[in-house]
Amino acid sequence: MNDLPTDPGTDDGALLSVRGVDVGYRTGRRTHVTAVHDVSFDLHPGQSMALVGESGCGKTTLGLGLLRLLPRTGVIPSGEILFRRKDGTRVDVRTLQKENLRRFRWSEAAMVFQGAMNAFNPVLRIEDHFVDTFRAHENGRRRPRREILEQSAELLEMVRLDPARVLNAFPHELSGGMRQRSLIALALALRPQLLILDEPTTALDLLTQRSIVERLAELREQLRFSMVFITHDLGLAAELADRVGTMYAGRLIETGTTRDIFHRSRHPYTSALIDSVPPVAGDLHVPESLPGGPPSLHALPPGCSFAPRCAHALTDCDLTRPTLDVLVPRGEGLSHAAACLRSTDAEIHAEGVPR
């Protein structure tokens, strides 16, 4: 019923088309706060998109909203989340009914959560998690446990874990990195087309992070799934993404290829974010600080939400909310677009020289 016919006019082969999505939370009986405003983007098969921004900018809320995994108070009052399923039909995730939604998650799109410990049930062994996941998504035919375990072992080997050791273990017996890798293996169990990762390496050590980043990059080559990953670690975005979306105060304010964002950013917030990260290589580079914090979602300024912190704000910025305008048009959702009144202003974007 929710399956929309594949309309050649609007369908350009995107795996995920997000159109004007708002996500909010109920805060009381009649009050709610909108955490994500009017977000639109297209994700094409095989792409890896990073959502970056400070905490509280709405990136996790958007990620959860895409799979309707919001907490009970979360609502998606408007917009469309069109997803092209493996069989070629398109569904609007926003209106999927309960059973269809359950089937859709995990087999079409899976999520890897931030705290790998909380994503596992502490009293079940890792193998039980795999069995549960497979069983929940099989159609009629009940597969023997042995067959499921064999397939689980393959998945674990894919993330360079020793199945003999991991399958039999309880979540707390594994290190943080091993848990995170098991979770990625579990997320890939049903060969989803899309993986959403929320801060996949944040709580992990540097060397563990490294191994997970490399694993993810290899798996993507091998299995050709798309990724949306939410991170505040710009280094991770630079390495793992081929496109980046910057979020601020619940809006997508700049989007483009990784090079667009890191070398030719046209939104002062994105530039400030990048400039505030001290690199490790080379001589001492003095990072710029970005004073203040994002505005309260209850009291967003009328114009550009970033204007109060922006070094380049004009009086007009306080009055007019900039739209996400395409600066460099490209196919497959890879256009460079920025929501800034001065995105083409030569004064702050000197000829050819970004940052």
Binding site: E54, S55, R160, S175, G177, M178, D205, L206, L207, T208, Q209, R210, S211, V213, E214, H232, D233, L234, G235, L236, A237, A238, E239, T258, R259, F262, H263, A272, L273, I274, S276, V277, P278, P279, V280, A281, G282, D283, L284, H285, V286, P287, E288, S289, L290, P291, G293
Partner: protein, 353 residues
């Protein structure tokens, strides 16, 4: 050249280049304020003894930074807690101005307590949720008779808030922690530590929970306390970028499984790491630059997972993962921390050459 790049971090001229001027970290002309001598912390657990810190020697001097880096479980937090006397070492000692903290009398210990302040990682947990900023910051001032009356307490507290760049201070004095952002809370925690006129501040991952945008400005604030007030820092972090930025003119000690494996001046350790573990750490960093990220040479470890502290390998702790592992001493003799390549190193292979 190094100094010039650094000075641009501060709008005002840096007042004390002092002994750390051009030979960073070798200001041995000043007496260390805080010294750890063979400090060791062994936790006894039912699964066996866990040597969280297996004997470290560290010195913190006024106005200088000693940065401890390493992965979780390497003992850096335990080391910090011993330095702050929040935990007593099971062997070895902590000296404050040359005197063993364990043998101090009540009065000396109180002086030590105030002179060495500790800033926790989580600004959401380290401030009392039911106390206002004024109440939190001024508690120590009032308790120790450092202010005469309420008016003075408020004035001094306001000054402290301004010192940590919480301006205008009047706006923040009567706020509760939940009305502030993480960065602001951490500044309150710094102001509280500063109220005690500390000689050393021990900062345990104090910036790691903050957003990148806020991290830098807090580091700049701490840097000003170091340069203008001559506060010495024992700075614990897992983030090499933060360590490099904050300790550029100080020293970095890299810890692995409870031991220091490499210690030297920051530019040397970060830009020219010699211990294979440090090299692996530096190469593992994701740089915020897509071209650099793809060009960068990554060091492959022989094994991804860290050994269990209760079951350490013989010889060098790092040898099962070490790309430089060679037959011979590596798996039989624990490498001592010796001076080599202008730094202290604990590696048979590198120090041999």
């Amino acid at each position: 050249m190094i100094d010039r790049t650094f000075d641009t971090a501060h709008p005002e001229p840096v007042t004390v280049p002092g002994p750390q001027g051009d030979s960073p970290g070798h200001g041995e002309t000043t007496e260390p304020v805080l010294t750890l001598k063979g400090a060791q912390q062994i936790f006894r657990t039912p699964r066996g003894d866990v040597p969280a810190v297996a004997g470290v020697d560290l010195e913190v001097r006024a106005g200088q930074v000693l940065c401890l880096v390493g992965e979780s479980g390497c003992g850096k937090t335990t080391t910090a807690r011993m330095a702050a006397a929040l935990a007593d070492p099971t062997a070895g000692s902590v000296l404050f101005r040359g005197k063993d903290v364990a043998s101090m009398d009540r009065k000396e210990r109180a002086a030590f307590r105030r002179s060495v302040q500790y800033i926790h990682q989580d600004p959401y947990a380290s401030l009392n949720p039911v106390r206002t900023v004024y109440s939190t910051v001024s508690a120590g001032l009032r308790r120790h008779g450092m202010v005469k009356n309420h008016a003075e307490a408020r004035r001094v507290t306001a000054e402290l808030l301004e010192r940590v760049d919480l301006t205008p201070a009047e706006d923040h004095l009567d706020k509760y922690p939940h009305q502030m952002s993480g960065g602001q809370r951490q500044r309150v925690a710094v102001a509280r530590a500063l109220a005690m006129n500390p000689e050393v501040i021990i900062a345990d991952e104090s910036t790691s929970m903050l957003d990148v945008s806020i991290r830098v400005s807090l580091l700049n604030t701490l840097g000003r306390l170091r340069d203008e007030l001559g506060v010495g820092f024992l700075f614990i972090t897992h983030d090499l970028a933060v360590a490099k930025y904050f300790a550029w003119r100080g020293e970095i000690a890299v810890m692995y499984l409870g031991k220091v494996v490499e210690q030297g001046t920051t530019p040397r350790v970060v830009n020219d790491p010699r211990h294979p573990y440090t090299e692996a750490l530096v190469s593992a960093v994701s740089e915020p630059d897509p071209d650099l990220a793809h060009r960068k040479d990554r060091i492959r470890l022989r094994e991804a997972d860290i050994p269990d502290l209760t079951d350490l390998p013989p010889g060098c702790d790092f040898h099962p993962r070490c790309p430089l592992y060679a037959e011979g001493d590596c798996d039989s003799v624990r490498p001592p921390l010796v001076r080599s390549h202008d730094r202290l190193l604990a590696c048979h292979v590198v120090t041999r050459g």
